[in-house]
Symmetry: C2
Subunit: 148 residues, 2 copies
């Protein structure tokens, strides 16, 4: 694995994803609660976590996959997929906020099923002027959601 | 700085951002070229880099900022902003691809001005079914692009 300038960076977990009956919960560690001020004003957040199950030499060495593990999809470089196998195990997910619980350091969101216990690494607001793309060109497999 | 479970993760630069007359260039290190297969089929990519200028104890301890460094904007937790000051210095930017140069490990994109020499940490495709949010609620300062 090449690190051409010899330097790597340190990511620190800021919290953890928990499951609940109402949805997924972003649970921040106490040291980071100050970072939540005003976050309740946003309906949509980008949630970043670490694909920790693959944090090993094998998982991080993968450079090509069949998207969605479907051999019918063409072998594609990981930078053209959202595969959890990739050199840096950054997961990104757009979530809608259901409930904000700042006193507990919790944000209840939709759509993170199956990611319980994953380490949170960042939260950013969805900003319409910078996060929307129009006139897209993309391969056929990427046009529709996975049939899960 | 709290790392509640004592564990941090290692991010490895996969390349670097360069400037050119035609736009910004994502230049991957040779070891990662395999990850570009098929990426030319996407018109829009999420580019992740590291806010390396702030990789120090001070920059990573900041939890509240005035968005866009404008004191007229309310003091906001960093997780409600795109501030480069935050616990994990992950930068995310939606880019349109202008030219794909796989043999050189380069992707020419728009919109990364001023980020030359920043370390690249990931590239992901923009996927319309998961990356679009509608019916947004957000604070007033976040509704329009920064007046640069």
């Amino acid at each position: 694995m090449s690190r051409e300038d010899g330097k790597s960076f340190e990511l620190r977990p800021i919290g953890v994803i928990k499951e609940s009956d109402q949805g997924s919960v972003l649970k921040l560690f106490p040291a980071y609660l100050g970072g939540l001020k005003g976050v309740e004003e946003f309906s949509h957040l980008w949630v970043f976590y670490w694909f920790h199950e693959h944090d090993n030499a094998e998982g991080r060495a993968v450079l090509e996959v069949h998207p969605r593990k479907d051999p019918a999809n063409p072998l594609t470089g990981v930078f053209g997929t959202r595969s959890p196998l990739r050199p840096n195990l950054i997961a990104m997910h757009l979530c809608e906020v259901r409930e904000f619980r700042p006193e507990k350091g919790e944000i209840l969101v939709d759509r993170l099923d199956g990611k319980a216990e994953s380490p949170l690494i960042d939260i950013k607001p969805y900003l319409p002027y910078s996060d929307r793309a129009e006139d897209l060109r993309l391969p056929e497999w990427a046009m529709t959601p996975p049939s899960s």
